[in-house]
Symmetry: D2
Subunit: 363 residues, 4 copies
Amino acid sequence: MKDTFGQSVSITLAGESHGAGIVAVLSGMAPGIPVDEDFIAAQLTKRRPAGAISTARQEGDKFEILSGVFGGFTTGTPITILIRNENTQSKDYSEISVTARPGHADYTAQCKYHGFQDYRGGGHFSGRITAGIVAVGAICISALAKKGIKIGTHIAECAGISDRKFCDTENEIDSLNEKLFAVLDEKAGEKMEDAILSAKNEQDSVGGILETAIVGVPAGIGEPYFDSIESRLAHMLFSIPAVKGVEFGTGFGFAKMRGSEANDPFRVDENGNIVTKTNNNGGINGGISNGMPITFRCAIKPTPSISLEQETVDFIKGENKNFVIKGRHDPAIIHRARVVIDSAAAIVLCDILAERFGTDWLR
Amino acid sequence: MKDTFGQSVSITLAGESHGAGIVAVLSGMAPGIPVDEDFIAAQLTKRRPAGAISTARQEGDKFEILSGVFGGFTTGTPITILIRNENTQSKDYSEISVTARPGHADYTAQCKYHGFQDYRGGGHFSGRITAGIVAVGAICISALAKKGIKIGTHIAECAGISDRKFCDTENEIDSLNEKLFAVLDEKAGEKMEDAILSAKNEQDSVGGILETAIVGVPAGIGEPYFDSIESRLAHMLFSIPAVKGVEFGTGFGFAKMRGSEANDPFRVDENGNIVTKTNNNGGINGGISNGMPITFRCAIKPTPSISLEQETVDFIKGENKNFVIKGRHDPAIIHRARVVIDSAAAIVLCDILAERFGTDWLR
Amino acid sequence: MKDTFGQSVSITLAGESHGAGIVAVLSGMAPGIPVDEDFIAAQLTKRRPAGAISTARQEGDKFEILSGVFGGFTTGTPITILIRNENTQSKDYSEISVTARPGHADYTAQCKYHGFQDYRGGGHFSGRITAGIVAVGAICISALAKKGIKIGTHIAECAGISDRKFCDTENEIDSLNEKLFAVLDEKAGEKMEDAILSAKNEQDSVGGILETAIVGVPAGIGEPYFDSIESRLAHMLFSIPAVKGVEFGTGFGFAKMRGSEANDPFRVDENGNIVTKTNNNGGINGGISNGMPITFRCAIKPTPSISLEQETVDFIKGENKNFVIKGRHDPAIIHRARVVIDSAAAIVLCDILAERFGTDWLR
Amino acid sequence: MKDTFGQSVSITLAGESHGAGIVAVLSGMAPGIPVDEDFIAAQLTKRRPAGAISTARQEGDKFEILSGVFGGFTTGTPITILIRNENTQSKDYSEISVTARPGHADYTAQCKYHGFQDYRGGGHFSGRITAGIVAVGAICISALAKKGIKIGTHIAECAGISDRKFCDTENEIDSLNEKLFAVLDEKAGEKMEDAILSAKNEQDSVGGILETAIVGVPAGIGEPYFDSIESRLAHMLFSIPAVKGVEFGTGFGFAKMRGSEANDPFRVDENGNIVTKTNNNGGINGGISNGMPITFRCAIKPTPSISLEQETVDFIKGENKNFVIKGRHDPAIIHRARVVIDSAAAIVLCDILAERFGTDWLR
């Protein structure tokens, strides 16, 4: 099943950058969850390009709930949200239909779809499609919040500049979720924005790392092996364009550790709860939550659309060519990708929790 | 579906460390693929502990094919392989049944299974279960080889010591697949083995990074979003105990790159094939193969079983305690995990290829 | 996954009778299949109520293709069709929100959704949702036709009146697909229509049996056990409201047969093809097609909405009551359900064929 | 996923008639369910041929639990049961390897597996594989019983002789489950056994209808459309060899009914529970349970293996031939299929209930 992900709670995603719009169907959500259209709109705003560090393409991201919500609450039947495309500059796509933009999927789409793909603006491969994940993910975030489960993501690194680490995780999540450029250390954030602008001025782009923490997930959720929390989250996270790495807890940092340092000692805390002194395992042992914050980091590659001239091929003629991508580009997408990560994680968590506790648990 | 993964080709995995044995069912493989029991045995040998750098537990890993093979060929119906447990030291497990070994799943298993889990030797969470992946994965590796698709993994880093990079990938894959301790640079390998022995002498363990390359996958395989090659491979890879990070191509290295460096320029090579000059994207654009080698790296955490005394809890009494894990431990598992990664990747590739080209394609 | 069905080719279905509209997403279809909007419209017309034997509710069934079609062809990425609701009489639904219409899902929806269901006009349970199956099914029917695979359904029985059997199946399929009231024997059809009108005059409704034949499916398609053609078709067919029985070939007629009669003798025909003399097994042995027409029959229960007074309960108060369903009712839906069966079968066949022969086969 | 069925609780099935044995993996069962090996053995006995009305092939059906059970209880991790084949008469299979036994899957297996199928005794298509369903189904039946959910099946019709209907369903289920030849009316049963013997004497076989009732399923279970109780049960039931029809409640009988008769009026009973006066809908409205007994009937075709000479083809030479199937045949399998139906239904119910109420609900 190619365009649907999840078991008890699932998302189906469709749409193209320059077609009628983006469609997301969220299936399996419990009935009776309040649906706050203002919150959905606010989440879409976090993903929408804004300011000098983003593309000039402006989308209103007006959405319409086509099904599954009645009287302001989820009905329990599938929820469909449509985000129509606007501001799709009508232009000549003849060059792009035969030219493989480096770092993009134009050539692989040609190999797979034999020329029938909608190549305009990247078509189905456009990052714009993730607006669908954000729209239905907002409902999942709301549902989780009522259960005391919170998700927050910060830009841990961008253009070589690092944010500080989480230290007071739950409060920091609340604070991050109020921000459009989500960093824990505002000064690091300013440096990142400067670096993004420098890249933009040089017609280039930058990448980075997003770090996410989830608090409030009870211990004992998840499965060993194929339905481990890591497997299901990573499956979803790698669905997001530009994500090229996912690590849980200390992740690749484990390579330089010894077991005596890496193992998180269990302790009984002052309230009698079992906790770990460190959280190198990112809240997950054997695929199953241990009650500590679930933490992971995603590597975000630099936006492939840059204004510099690039070497590439005409894949129809099979000829080398030099090429400049015209139009409006994001010098960075990491600040916009943040809410996509939050939303994607929320969908997966709702799925895992509904499977563990039943389809009514989230309401 | 918790214990089964894959769509056209799938694996179902069952068993415990100290139960009757490990069972793996491989479903959906094409009929007519030769099944070489010697090759299966050789692959299991790569996973089996051996020498001073591994645990002293010796398993013969004798396997029995229970179904799906007839006259030396796959029938097309499900293939079941049983690896019986031997050499399961009978000992007193009363302490381990209530004690959360740090870095292990004892506590999370208790939270999920409420005391009914088979705690002996980690039960279903034991790394030993991965022998099932290796056994059926061997059939997938054979099938892929006949189609010109080869998979190889080396220990890119262990205990802070790095191997060199792939440079002549296809030949290096062949060479790696002959080795028990898979490194490209034998001298780096010797240093790694020394470092593992040092950790062992200090009753400790080490982690590392495995790097995998796959050559021969045609362009145009995979899907955008949820069935991206990255999503499906990562889902499987994170099912393997000890894997805590997965990155494709340059992965987390993208964080410090600019787009102009990260984008892989397309070129027409001397044979008229479309290739990329660099391979930062690890052979995948938009979730779909571009014909370049598919490359990924897995972070392997240090073996959590160490002989040093550790802090932990008795999760039944809810009390802190100090604890020494008795018995035989691996100071490193990275050299043994290598063949598990190869096997897991082979299963996923067979699945993706069978879905793309049909159920007969692999024969 | 509750609202999605299929593996290589799948459908996701959403919407309510009186909400914004019906949404169907068709995923996994090959690229390059011509999409004929007129044919989609014609198929929807077959499902739409018409004439004296149907409800007076008139729906234009205007549809909009939101994604997955570009330049008149499928792109290979998910196809979304939206059919907006029109002519939704605004009326007082307060009685229906607490009253279990006999034979309907009002009470079971209450048990499952706890009052949050959209009860207007049956909400998500309305037969109207099947318009989504018809819309995307039309694309599947077109794709199959190009491969020489044809599907046709006739009203084998309605209100106790029987149509004749298929005898020249392929031509009869073509003929049936031109008809709005699909019978092989027009005189039987006239009697059925009279019987439907009689039921209508008596404020009642009638049921019947639909018989379907599929020609052109090559031998060797399908799987033993859980992915048998019967299992996958039946799964989909029982998703259609009002279908309460499915039988393949001779089906329940086997109960009175002996093996010597039931077994279909294999023969080599004049063209050297292997055929069977009879087709009691409905073209399927061991879950796999044998090259003969695939035949099945679906029992359609009488429309539960009738104008006669009925006994029922107020499920909020837990009190008995008598109840008359107001509004416009279908005295029969069998003639409208026909195209839903055809469409549902086409989706399943595309799925099975794409899985067998790969994702490009259908183009 | 071809050989696995189910979502929260699933079965994976493997094995051949003359291979090492039959393997069934039951995944997702709650931890803490007592596993009674005597009950599993008793259930297997119901499926095993016995007496004059069955084949002379005798199988001990000794089974071994390979995983997932510890200290007499389910662990919550996958349960594997192996039933080794015994008494596999070694004989010459050269004729059967090229001859399509009418009504069997030999020819379709050839078309699908290209000659690599294990043809001995029907291989993977043998009814013997259903012993795996019975073995793991026994655990599901035990789990459901503790929740007050009971399943019973009787031979409603065999060789043209009808049993009486259920009238005191719950007690009759208990009584049926004690019987090897499951009928409600012993005299009808005797006539059926006589008719089976007559068919046997004439080297022929007979078919019939099995009727199943399930009591104790709470209202509100199931889903609309693709995960309707009907869809999921039918999917599983049609996986069972010889099942060629499935109907719920009145099923095909609806064809001759009017809505006023077919609709089941809701009533509040003396205990304040909402019930229906009739149960034509078989306990299911809109795919969701209404609290009444779930009832369905399966058409079982006559055993295709008969001793009479039959017309068929040599599918390698492409030549007509006459053929006598040698060996031991069942003149009827309906009495043996009964426990397969019960077991299959139990697996599906556990799946649906676990999905609705969570993975711990069944314990």
